[in-house]
Every structure is written in structure tokens, then in C-alpha cells.
């Protein structure tokens, strides 16, 4: 099977492979990856098998953490190696790609991973390919030429640890030109086949969002969640902590019908007339939610049934302490600001209360093969065994995002693999436990 070079975005490193796995599952293609010979562990370069270019375009059409998919014509640990390897690349394959001939238009792009270049340096690199069969046609910038060739030097990144979970912004991994900290790792010459959807991160940027709340989910992460949840036309996605619907907007972008609920009506309706949750869908021309209802996830309001293809959410980080007078609702304010964690009267949710209810809820309401994607707050001391388990669900991805030195959160992706098994027992008695302040009620799942 043909092998394509994926140039990934150097952000949210732990999310990159799970995203690819999800996109390949959606496309019905097994994911087979190969590490490029000269690449390091954390390299953004990855070879992936794909049947053809159309498949590459399908994958790229919703990829958030893939910049480009290339047909790599040559690679080398240095320029001599690259040019030697290019000599061996068959001209017939260049012809098959429609890249040879006097009337063919093309342009070059020079990119450095871990480096930037001056215009002179770029031209010098491009000129090293003068006289090659694919550089005989006409150079054209706009409109788009027949082929775009990318010259990519991999210098690695020298930001060290801490970058791991999306610490550095796109393009921040650069060093001043000519700083010889580390030798170049590799250089690639490739033909562009498909471009990922980084543009969506800008389109759904929260700065331009009509209706926002204190906990609105970042656009890039929302899009990633939608991909990991396999949001697609024909699917129904539900967010039980909908807030301002950041995650559901991303799911709707990929064609899923969405349903949300929240305990707080103020969040759903908004304070300013004409600015509410629905405005966000209208703003992007998306199908509005099937419904948004006011309910408490801890109560059974949904009839028993396998309704959802995806349950997606960012559960609130804290809840009122049981002794707080609660006039009407169990949870009068489920979306406190992060500072509320420190205030008396609120206790942070620990692993094992809301999360257990959420897992049980998802296990009972997801279709078989449906996915639960949720954020789990944790500390740097997190261990694999801290991740809550449910006998009907299997964790397929668990990606860490560093928030502060003391708080991390992990995006946990689970798939329903077995019929629902009730792990909570009587839900009502559990709730009474909350009200009477009996403390965390973590029930052990049967092994």
C-alpha cells in the first residue's frame, strides 16, 4: 500500500495519534504507521499507509492536528543524502503524479521544523532542485498550481519538556536562524497531497463566538473532542453539561445532530436577549440542537435505551458542599469559575462521584460502539489506575493536558464494548448520600 508522509502539528502531542485513529476509523481504513528513519520520538513526521490520494484527502478533510499529507519523494539525514535518494525516485512516478512536462505549473514551499529561514536561504534551497524533471514547468503562486512541492528540514525542537501537552503555540517551536544547538535531523522533499483543517481552529475561535460563558471549551480542543467522539452525519451526540455548547458546536460542524442539557437555565438562555446557546449554531450556519433541556445528570430523566452515538462533556470541577443550604436544586451553580474551587462552601469533585454517575449513564445510553469523551481533572501524580473504569466501556485514549503545575486534566475516550451493567445500584440512595453529606460514594465496579 502506498505510504504517505504526515506532517503533524506540534501541539497537544498526546492527542495526535488518537485523533488519527479516530479519523481512520471514520474512513474505514486500518491505521498503519511507520516512523521515518531519521525522526525522533516526539517527531511531527509520520509515515502512514493509505490506499490512494482520495483517502488522504478524506482523512485531511477533518484533521485538526495534521498540517499536511505528502507524497514523499526523497528524504535524507542531510542534503547529500536527500539529493542521492531523489536521483533514485522513478521519473515514471513523477509523471504519474502529473508533475512532469513543460506546461505543468508548480511552486515550492520551504519549511523548517525548529528553524526559520531568510528569503535568500529559501531560494538557495529551492535552486538545488533546478534542472530536475519536475521543475521544468512554470512557477505559479496563484491561482493554485498543479503541484506544490515542500522542502522540509527537521531540526527538532529545543524547548525541552513541558511542551508535551500543547504548551507551545503553533509556530512557536523555532529558534533563530543559524543557531547551531543541534544538528539537522532530516530533510524531506515532498509533493503536497492534502491539507489538514487548521483553518477550523480560526473559524471557531472563541474570540469571535457570539455567546460565551466562563467555561466555554476552546475551539481546537472542541474540534478534537468531536473527532475523537466520531461525530458524523447520522449520529446523535449528547452533552449533559452543555454550558454554551462549545463541544456540541464542533460536533454539529462534522454533521452530527446534537442534544444538550444543563442544570442551570441561566447558562442555556443567556442574560442578553438575542445572545444564547442557539446563537452560536446560527453564527456558523449549523443545524441547531435537537433540544437543550434543563435537568440534573444525577437524575434519571432519559428513558432506558441506547440513544446516543456519543456522550461528550466537560464535567464541572466543583459542586456545592452538602451542608450548603440548597433551596431548590441539588446543584444550583454547576459552572463556577476556577477560583470557586478555593471558596468555602464548594468542594472539588473527586474521582468517583460525578464521574461514576457519568460513566454509568454513558454505559446505559450509548449505542454499542458509541463513545464517551470527557475531561477528568487530575494532579501530576495521576496513575493509570486512577482512571475510572466501567465494565461496559473500554478506554481507547487518555490524553493529558497540563493546566498548571498542580492541575492537569485528561481527555478520556471510552468505547461501549459490552451491554450495560448497572454499577451504581440504586441511584436514589446515592443521591441521598450527597444530600446528607456522607462523603464520596465510590462504588467498586465488578471486575
Amino acid at each position: 500500500m502506498p505510504r504517505y508522509l504526515f506532517y503533524l502539528v506540534h501541539r497537544h502531542l498526546e492527542f495526535r495519534l488518537p485523533e488519527l485513529q479516530a479519523l481512520f476509523e471514520l474512513a474505514g481504513i486500518p491505521l498503519v504507521t511507520h516512523r521515518p528513519p531519521f525522526a525522533a520520538d516526539d517527531s511531527p513526521f509520520l509515515y502512514v499507509d493509505l490506499p490512494n490520494e482520495e483517502a488522504a484527502r478524506t482523512i485531511a478533510s477533518r484533521a485538526i492536528l495534521t498540517r499536511n499529507i505528502f507524497e514523499c519523494w526523497a528524504e535524507g539525514a542531510d542534503w547529500d543524502g536527500l539529493l542521492r535518494n531523489l536521483d533514485e525516485y522513478p521519473v515514471e512516478r513523477m509523471e504519474a503524479a502529473g508533475a512532469v512536462g513543460p506546461g505543468v505549473t508548480f511552486r515550492f514551499e520551504v519549511e523548517g521544523f525548529g528553524r526559520t529561514y531568510t528569503m535568500e536561504e529559501k531560494l538557495d534551497m529551492i535552486n538545488r532542485f533546478a534542472g530536475r524533471p519536475f521543475a521544468e514547468g512554470k512557477v505559479r503562486i496563484k491561482p493554485a498550481p498543479d503541484n506544490v512541492f515542500h522542502i522540509i528540514e527537521d531540526w527538532g525542537h529545543n524547548l525541552g519538556k513541558g511542551l508535551g501537552a500543547g504548551g507551545a503555540g503553533e509556530g512557536e517551536v523555532r529558534r533563530p536562524p543559524g543557531r547551531p544547538d543541534l544538528p539537522m535531523r532530516a530533510v524531506y522533499l515532498c509533493r503536497e497531497v492534502a491539507t489538514g483543517r487548521r483553518d477550523l481552529v480560526g473559524r471557531y475561535d472563541l474570540k469571535k463566538r457570539a455567546f460565551l460563558g466562563p467555561t466555554s471549551m476552546d475551539a481546537e480542543l472542541s474540534l478534537l473532542i468531536a473527532n475523537l467522539a466520531l461525530a458524523r452525519p447520522g449520529a446523535l451526540a449528547y452533552d449533559p453539561f452543555v454550558g454554551t455548547a462549545g463541544i456540541l458546536v464542533a460536533c454539529a460542524h462534522f454533521g452530527a445532530r446534537v442534544l444538550g442539557s444543563d442544570i442551570d437555565k441561566r447558562i442555556i438562555r443567556g442574560k442578553v436577549p438575542g445572545k444564547n446557546l442557539w446563537t452560536n449554531f446560527k453564527q456558523y450556519g449549523l443545524e441547531p440542537p435537537v433540544d437543550v433541556i434543563q435537568c440534573d445528570i444525577l437524575r434519571r430523566v432519559w428513558r432506558q435505551g441506547e440513544w446516543f452515538d456519543a456522550v461528550v462533556c466537560d464535567p464541572p470541577p466543583s459542586r456545592p458542599a452538602p451542608q450548603t443550604p440548597v433551596p431548590r436544586l441539588l446543584y444550583p451553580h454547576p459552572h463556577p469559575s476556577p477560583k470557586d474551587e478555593m471558596k468555602p462552601g464548594l468542594v472539588p469533585v473527586t474521582l468517583g462521584d460525578t464521574t461514576d454517575v457519568l460513566l454509568d449513564f454513558a454505559a446505559s445510553t450509548l449505542v454499542m460502539g458509541g463513545r464517551l469523551v470527557y475531561w477528568l481533572p487530575c494532579t501530576p501524580e495521576y496513575e493509570e489506575s486512577d482512571c475510572p473504569q466501567h465494565p461496559s466501556l473500554r478506554v481507547v485514549a487518555n490524553c493529558c493536558q497540563v493546566l498548571t503545575s498542580k492541575w492537569h486534566r485528561r481527555l478520556v475516550v471510552s468505547v461501549k464494548v459490552a451491554p450495560y451493567i448497572n454499577t451504581l445500584g440504586d441511584l436514589l440512595s446515592l443521591e441521598e448520600g450527597y444530600i446528607e453529606g456522607l462523603g464520596p460514594l465510590r462504588k467498586q465496579s465488578p471486575a
Binding site: 452525519p233 447520522g234 449520529a235 446523535l236 445532530r257 442534544l259 442544570i263 437555565k265 442555556i268 438562555r269 443545524e287 441547531p288 435537537v290 433540544d291 437543550v292 433541556i293 434543563q294 435537568c295 440534573d296 437524575r299 434519571r300 430523566v301 432519559w302 428513558r303 435505551g305 441506547e306 440513544w307 440548597v326 433551596p327 431548590r328 436544586l329 441539588l330 436514589l428 443521591e431 444530600i435
Partner: protein, 130 residues
Amino acid sequence: MKILTHNMLMCNVKGCDKGNFPLRIELSEPVSIQETEFNEDFARRLIGKVDWPALAETAAALGLYDKLGIPELPSTPPEAATADDALLKAMHRVLLEVQVIEGKLVCNNCGKAYSVSKGIPNMLLTQDEL
């Protein structure tokens, strides 16, 4: 609130666990009809999920067949694999295009009334109902 959501919701008052579905819709304002995009796959996959007796009862009670100008939906589950386009479109219209704006959802068992206001059902309970 769409009829699909109505077909999913049940009463959650403590101890009310029999006859708590479907909730009876009491309108205080006529339903509104809003077109949405039809997705055949989505509609077909709903066949096995929907409670058909409740759906037929609700659609008849609200007079939706006349309002939408569509034939009656069956009160027993049709075969998902062989459901034709006309049935799927009728399902789509009833389940996803009819919107309850103002009214109540009343539990036939315990009598609890959940309000629907500006299209949003409020399923929360008071302290003594928990």
C-alpha cells in the same frame, strides 16, 4: 422541545417508577413547525430507539398528522431495514420538526407537571420530590 426528546423523557420523581412514561403534553400555545435537514441514516437508526405506541399516541393527541399533512405513523415498530422513504420522512417531520414552545409535561402516574418554557423543558424537581 421536539417530539423526539419527548419520546426519551420520563418522570424522575422519587418512587415514581411505573407508568412514568410517556409524559402527557399540555399545550398552552400551539406547536410550531420548523424545517430541519433530513438525514436518512439518522431517521432509520431512530426506528429501533423510538417507543412507537407513545409516538403514535402523542402525534394523534396533538393533531400532528393533520397539521403536517402526513399519513399516520404505525403504533408498532416498523422493520428498520425495509422502511421506505415516505415513512422515514414522516418520522423525521414528527420527531424533529415539531416544536413544543409553551406548555407542560404531566406525569400520568404521580401527576408531577414539568414546565416547558420557550421550548426548554425543565426536568428539575423540588427538594421534597427528590
